[in-house]
Symmetry: C2
Subunit: 304 residues, 2 copies
């Protein structure tokens, strides 16, 4: 039933690599998981780099700045340069860079890494950190300061301090249809291991704001939406038809690769099971069908 | 373009009233708003009651218990008995009454009124009040207690203390497909006057939990869903074809009346504009089309 090509033999793997100029890698569930790099990953990436292939890291993670993410990659012993790393904090700052004026501000529901990226491009912002100004919906207007008049955009990203006050402020600024609504990524939850708890993803926070505001984000910076690919292409030149997106999620990584004209390689080391892979072919869900699949990057890499 | 019947003349109003046994009233935006009863409301309801009509109050408000809501109604000088008052805290407790065993519990994202109603029907619960046990998604499993094993249901209602910790716990319990997911109501925001702030409604909180949990509520206690009507009918006998649902919202009140076979009367004293009313006819959106409309209950009541 599965029609993806299994990339776990030397003929298939070598042919694919020989035709490829750049490999774009999702990280969590592909390169590492639960704080450990997966076996064989370092070896696989080194081999690809030694063959002159471009290696680019594209993650929906919105909790780290680009520099922090680079340090994380290097901390696992992998080689990377700053312009080979794309995360959603960076993407949303770049998106707003020329849209927010010097005398304007951005209200951020998010974490300090988003602030770091906005600072770098000179965009004024406020809102990061704890905020429990609004404890009672009916009394809110008595408890909070007047809305600022110069808010040009609202960013919603991952925020440990997400709460009712923050939803209230976000939708109040978004009541102005001119206010740009920027979402980092729509992941529904985080991969969690060694815990019976499920961890809500950024998509849940964005969904709450969008529902109460009665409007959808104007842009989603993460995969599968295309804005991140626009920036990858701008900074790393390569021919998309000779590039492969490698990921563990069908609805983000694989869809992102497919809609941008890349080949796609699903690895089964993360959130996707063989059954789920089979389902996208059974259901003819073309956007989520990978070109290739492998059990893991290690299985793929051993034939290099 | 509007095909609803304007109920602001004596022939129309008297005919409608003479054919009607029970009037079901939404409250906020219909009877009162911004803490004040609307002019003419008391007089209108008194006249209907003096003509032997049943008056029933049905609200999606999940911040008050049934008794608190009765006191609110009486505080405005209106007459009501406890079994004429239906709010979502009451509805969700009644829904769970025979579904949760003596040795089981309900995790509640909500306010004390939901606890009051659960206590009344002898359903064990926990979770109400502030909770910021989870400040860091990646470290959550180290910071929180093991999940309880006896959680039969999760209720999500209005909660001033809504935050990341609560979403995490809710979805962790909902990961068990046997756990019943109860939502109070899907209102996207609260009507706010005298403030530039918009106030997120319970629907935003439920949407966040549903998105991260990857499942929709098993039951929604508020309008337009039918469970509240089941309980109204159980406690207040009347013929639905001789009853009128009066409300200010097309997507809750009017749809609730229509799907349950009542006539419907939209009043324009709340969130719905004349243009929005016209749109549901222009768009042939039958579920939301009221039978009658009036500028306000006062305009309607003067012809009684």
């Amino acid at each position: 039933m599965t029609e993806a090509i299994k990339a776990e033999d030397s003929v298939t793997v070598r042919k694919l690599v020989s035709e490829t100029e750049a490999f774009l890698f999702d990280c969590d569930g592909v390169l590492w998981g639960s704080g450990k790099i997966y076996p064989g990953v370092s070896d696989t990436l080194n081999k690809l780099q030694s063959q002159g292939k471009k290696i680019i890291y594209v993650t929906n993670n919105s909790t780290k700045s680009r520099l922090q993410y680079l340090e994380k990659i290097r901390g696992y012993g992998l080689q990377a340069k700053i312009n080979e790393v794309y995360c959603t904090a960076y993407t949303c700052a770049k998106y707003l860079q020329h849209k927010v004026g010097q005398d304007e501000e951005v209200y951020v529901v998010g974490n300090p890494s988003i602030g770091t990226e906005l600072d770098k491009v000179g965009v004024n912002h406020f809102g990061i950190g704890p905020d429990d100004t609004i404890k009672n919906a009916n009394e809110a207007h008595k408890l909070v300061d007047p809305l600022k008049k110069n808010v040009k955009a609202v960013i919603v990203g991952f925020d440990d301090y997400f709460n009712y006050s923050k939803i209230t402020k976000a939708i109040s600024y978004l009541a102005n249809p001119e206010t740009i609504f920027v979402a980092t990524n729509m992941d529904s939850n985080f991969p969690v291991t060694n815990s019976e708890y499920m961890m809500p993803g950024t998509g849940a926070l964005i969904t709450a704001v969008a529902f109460a505001a009665g409007r959808q984000p104007d842009v989603i910076c993460g995969k599968p939406d295309s804005v991140m690919m626009d920036y990858v292409k701008e900074e790393c030149e390569f021919d998309q038809s000779h590039a492969v997106m490698v990921g563990d999620r069908l609805d983000t990584d694989i869809q992102f690769g497919n809609k941008n004209g890349l080949k796609t390689l699903l690895v089964l080391s993360g959130v996707t099971s063989t059954k789920t892979l089979e389902d996208v072919f059974r259901n003819n869900d073309k956007e989520k069908q990978p070109t290739y699949y492998a059990k893991s990057l290690s299985e793929f890499g051993q034939y290099l």
